[in-house]
């Protein structure tokens, strides 16, 4: 009987981790994308203070979520996104011309992580 309880516990932990992973990745993707979209729209309206604020918020948010994501996603992809996101702060301070491209790259990298973790037919098979 003890083993059945352990089996049920393991099963519950496994399913719980999977649910947590799906939730965390989705929420991180949505929030991070929102920060990036805000920064892009601020860039169009030349609001450089707003861009810097958005990039700092994105960087802080990413740093907060990073430990959870590393426990569930491939580290290589996360590291690439981290480098891009962290460079955004400096680029926004310097008002770099490459900022828009870098913002789009960061968005794509985060989307790629999200797409890679989602439960889809393609990912399963």
């Amino acid at each position: 009987m003890k083993r059945i309880y352990i089996a049920i516990f393991f099963l519950a932990v496994s399913i719980g981790l999977c649910v947590f992973e799906q939730y965390t990745v989705k929420v991180t993707y949505e929030n991070a994308t929102e920060y990036i979209d805000t920064a892009i729209s601020q860039l169009d309206s030349k609001d450089y203070d707003g861009i810097e604020k958005s990039c700092t918020s994105l960087s802080n948010y990413w740093d907060k979520m990073y430990p959870y994501l590393t426990a569930m996603s491939e580290h290589d992809m996360l590291d690439e996104a981290s480098i891009t996101i962290n460079s955004l702060c400096d680029m926004s301070k310097n008002k770099s011309d490459e900022l828009e491209n870098e913002l789009i790259t960061a968005k794509n990298q985060i989307k790629s992580i999200y797409d890679n973790q989602r439960i889809t037919f393609g990912n399963i098979f």
Partner: protein
């Protein structure tokens, strides 16, 4: 390197727990699904050790899932004969009443060499001595020799014999053993009493056993 060390340690502990939870079976006694789980476990455990960029959870979650499924399917197997047959298959006669079933052999993809080989491992060198032979669900062959070739037992010649019982280990490798088979406790006073009968220091004894009749068997330690 240090990350690998810690990851290896975690995986080692986890795999040992997993194997212990699966129960005590030797490799040769594994049912097909148990063998598959064992192979999968070892394969999954290796991946995060080779690939540092992979999260450990990607290895631990499948292991937890396999173990839970293994335990749950074994519980269902105990309750349902249909499920047990589905999961493990059924034992199949290849020799029935002394006759070799060639059709079954072909179905099982067993050659006559395999059968003769398996019989030899059961100390039967002449196939004509076999009454029944069964391929068990784990792939091993069980054999029932014909009555005239069976070893003679006391029952066959109507001799009454006394049960000897299994000897209990009292001292092993210079140390007293306070319990056996994790079930029965042996009192210190009982151990002392047995030691008095053999008149030896515990440290100088390699093995000391006692049976139901109080007969002791002693192997002294040698200075090797």
């Amino acid at each position: 390197m240090s990350v690998n060390f810690i990851r290896a340690l975690i995986i080692y502990v986890f795999v040992i727990i997993a194997v212990r939870l699966m129960g005590k079976r030797q490799v040769g006694e594994l049912k097909p699904h148990e063998l598959v789980i064992t192979i999968l476990l070892s394969a999954i455990a290796v991946i995060p050790l080779e690939e540092n960029s992979m999260p450990l959870a990607n290895c631990l979650v499948p292991i937890m899932l396999f173990i839970s499924m293994e335990i749950l399917t074994s519980v269902i197997s105990m309750k349902s004969l249909w499920f047990r047959n589905l999961l493990q298959g059924k034992p199949i006669f290849i020799i029935r009443k002394g006759k070799l079933d060639q059709k079954k052999l072909k179905e099982m993809r067993f050659t006559i060499d395999d059968v003769v080989d398996a019989l030899r491992q059961k100390d039967i060198f002449d196939i004509s001595e076999v009454e029944d032979a069964v391929i068990e669900t784990n792939g091993s062959i069980s054999v029932l020799p014909k009555a005239e070739y069976k070893p003679l037992t006391p029952n066959d010649v109507s001799i009454s014999v006394k049960e000897k019982g299994m000897p209990i280990t009292i001292v092993m490798d210079g140390k007293t053993v306070n319990e056996y088979f994790n079930e029965y406790k042996i009192k210190d006073s009982e151990i002392k009493l047995v030691l008095q009968t053999v008149d030896r220091d515990v440290e100088k004894i390699m093995l000391l056993t006692i049976d139901d009749d109080g007969n002791t068997y002693l192997i002294n330690k040698e200075n090797v």
